[in-house]
Symmetry: C2
Subunit: 404 residues, 2 copies
């Protein structure tokens, strides 16, 4: 599939605002891929770090290591060291030794305590990580440290067809702060977490506790509301580092919270746009549910249904499959109050097809590249939006061949 | 896809033992398909009926009607009237009127009370059922009533590529009884219920309460342990009619219970073998779980994972995806106790790849047409077996085109 970029990809990597206090580098360690970078390093002279991780019961050694280090990540220098090609997941105690080895190597070279080196690995599961190869590149990485965030985004890609970046410039009472982030992920995408790896930096000043609160809330509405295949990675990691280098306080500032969530949403939707084999971006909007949890349940039942996703791929206005997904979701539903729409086009209401239903109009809608599937349950105030992509021959081709 | 029979299909429709007290007929009503039968009728002069149905919150009008009638279905004549091509689901109050109209027409013609006519409809969701067309064929059906159970099996097919039948002859202390059943289903297959439509007849004598107990227990281990796409139909119906025409009592007879479950399992596996686009039959065996519910959760997480199913399609020994599915299942799991095997070939144990892992041996195993994926969680006594099929280009082709 190399060389085939998703038809839903942005035209180019965005211009991201420079974030003071962080430098990036990428290198080729030859973990698995040839002829491309596969290790990225980000070094913060001073940082407060917050994050969220996969809830998988079989989560990887680096995820467990990051989880343990996070509560103490307030102030002082820190680094993110990430490799692609091998996930160091289900590698037993050797996996833990590999993480320790990598952290020790990076710590010695960068002069940053090992407890503040956050690693991540993405790629094949179950194969021992050749960590010595990665440990050999930090000298190169150190020499390359600079502003190239796009290079960092490229080094962490696996089946991704384009590097993902998003940023914001936020004017706060104390001055201007900057946010810039990168992400990778295109398959094994479902909450929690939705995306495999996400790193976001800001030069705002904010303590760990309020930063973690913002990150968790924004993540719940963005990365935990996307799905490509309903499968959850063992390695999903989201880390946000606030360097404070702007000297501007961000805690309690709604504009900062909104900008951070917008960056998350932008990156999350880029992951969906790069969904394996995706040809359409699908937004599922559920309203009128008995609760928000019920709304999310219905939205995910629709977004994960192979029958709904293949209908979208085939541009078939098969809203009966949406009825099926609502019914199987386990959420409270009443057939006679259920209404379904494609964008603004209502196709069913009060438990049956609308009287003036037009197959031609519905079919014409399905030809769009970005679809909105709307469901109103008519029961309460619960609502949720979930983003997914369609299920195509491309997904089968990628996953019947690629060893992930 | 017409004319392409599943590579996993049995060589031919089985010879089924004649069940005394039931007669079959099929006809062309032209509900949706052309040039094939699409209505089946089964008439029992005397029958006790038990069954189970989809738990979908948007289940169809005929399902709701059958649910209401079942508690009174003890003794007296009864009939099953089934059409394919239109599911009469999400058709609002008109759907209920259609069921009433069909039951009235069949009742008048057959001299069977409307409360003992069990209908079912399978096919497209959300389009009004042209029930008058179906109501017009009972005279033809009545004239054709006879022993042709294969004809009945063919009339209820939708995307099925072969008719499904199974039977048993059981020697009980009081004499010999016979069991014969048919099923249809190949997509939108997941508990509860697994299969869309299943009808089983026996000439054993058994009251409704013990028959229902047997049916529910056997269903839990067969039709509710299969999945093709994780999608649950709005129309799934399983009905078992005991005519008592053999004069032989079956209540409390383990041999009868075992034979009934064997017929269920045979039909359930035929549904999986006809899974849309299936090229491999996959049996997921989970042992060592903390509970049976946890075992089933893990087994379904594996069986429904698009990444596991595409790996099987690609004959890729990608056991890392099984680790992923175990992790996301929500069941209790401990990485360091987890073991995974393909058939008898252990590939991972104690949380990592086995020392003598052979990619060649694992890959050779994956080339089989019938695969066993085994997981031992090493925690307790809970176990469950689930059957599924792989996810192929065929599934995409069928579902991106077919309006179901």
């Amino acid at each position: 599939m190399a060389g085939t970029v998703s038809p839903l990809a942005p035209a180019r990597f965005p211009d991201l605002p420079p974030v003071r206090g962080v430098r990036f580098a990428a290198a080729e360690a030859g973990v698995r891929y040839k002829g491309r970078t596969d290790v990225m390093l980000a070094v913060m002279e001073e940082a407060t770090v917050a994050g969220t991780f996969t809830r998988s019961a079989t989560r990887s050694a680096p995820v467990r290591d990051c989880e343990a280090k996070l509560p103490l990540a307030e102030g002082g220098p820190a680094a993110f060291l990430v490799n692609s090609g091998n996930s160091n997941a289900f590698t037993g105690r050797r996996g833990e030794a590999a993480v320790a080895g990598l952290c020790a190597a990076a710590s010695g070279l960068l002069g940053i305590p090992g407890g503040r080196i956050f690693t991540a690995s993405t790629g094949v599961i179950g194969e021992p990580l050749p960590w010595e190869r990665i440990a050999a590149v930090p000298p190169t990485l150190r020499d390359r440290l600079g502003p190239d965030i796009e290079g960092a985004a490229r080094a962490i890609m696996t089946t991704d067809t384009f590097p993902k970046g998003a940023g914001a410039v936020v004017d706060l009472p104390g001055g201007t702060v900057h946010i810039a982030g990168i992400a990778k992920g295109s398959g094994m995408i479902a909450p929690d977490m939705a995306t495999m790896l996400v790193y976001v930096w800001t030069d705002a000043r904010i303590a760990r506790a309020p930063l973690q609160t913002l990150v968790s809330a924004a993540c719940a509405r963005t990365f935990n509301r996307i799905t490509v295949d309903g499968d959850t990675s063992t390695s999903d990691t989201l880390l946000v580092a606030a360097t404070g280098a702007s000297g501007v306080d961000a805690a309690g500032e709604p504009a900062f919270a909104a900008a951070l969530e917008a960056v998350f949403r932008d990156l999350a939707l880029q992951v969906v746009r790069d969904g394996e084999g995706a040809s359409k971006l699908i937004e599922v909007q559920v309203t009128g549910a008995a609760s928000e949890a019920d709304a999310a349940r219905v939205a995910f039942a629709i977004a994960n249904s192979p029958l709904v996703k293949t209908a979208c791929a085939g541009e078939d206005a098969n809203w009966g499959r949406i009825v099926m997904a609502v019914g199987k979701s386990g959420a409270r539903a009443d057939r006679d109050r259920l209404a379904i729409r494609f964008g603004d086009l209502w196709v069913a209401r009060d438990g049956e097809r609308v009287p003036d239903y037009s197959e031609a109009a519905a079919s014409a809608y399905m030809k769009r590249q970005e679809l909105v599937l709307g469901v109103d349950l008519g029961l309460g105030e619960g609502q949720a939006t979930v983003w997914t992509c369609d299920l195509t021959h491309g997904y089968i081709a990628i996953n019947a061949d690629y060893r992930s």
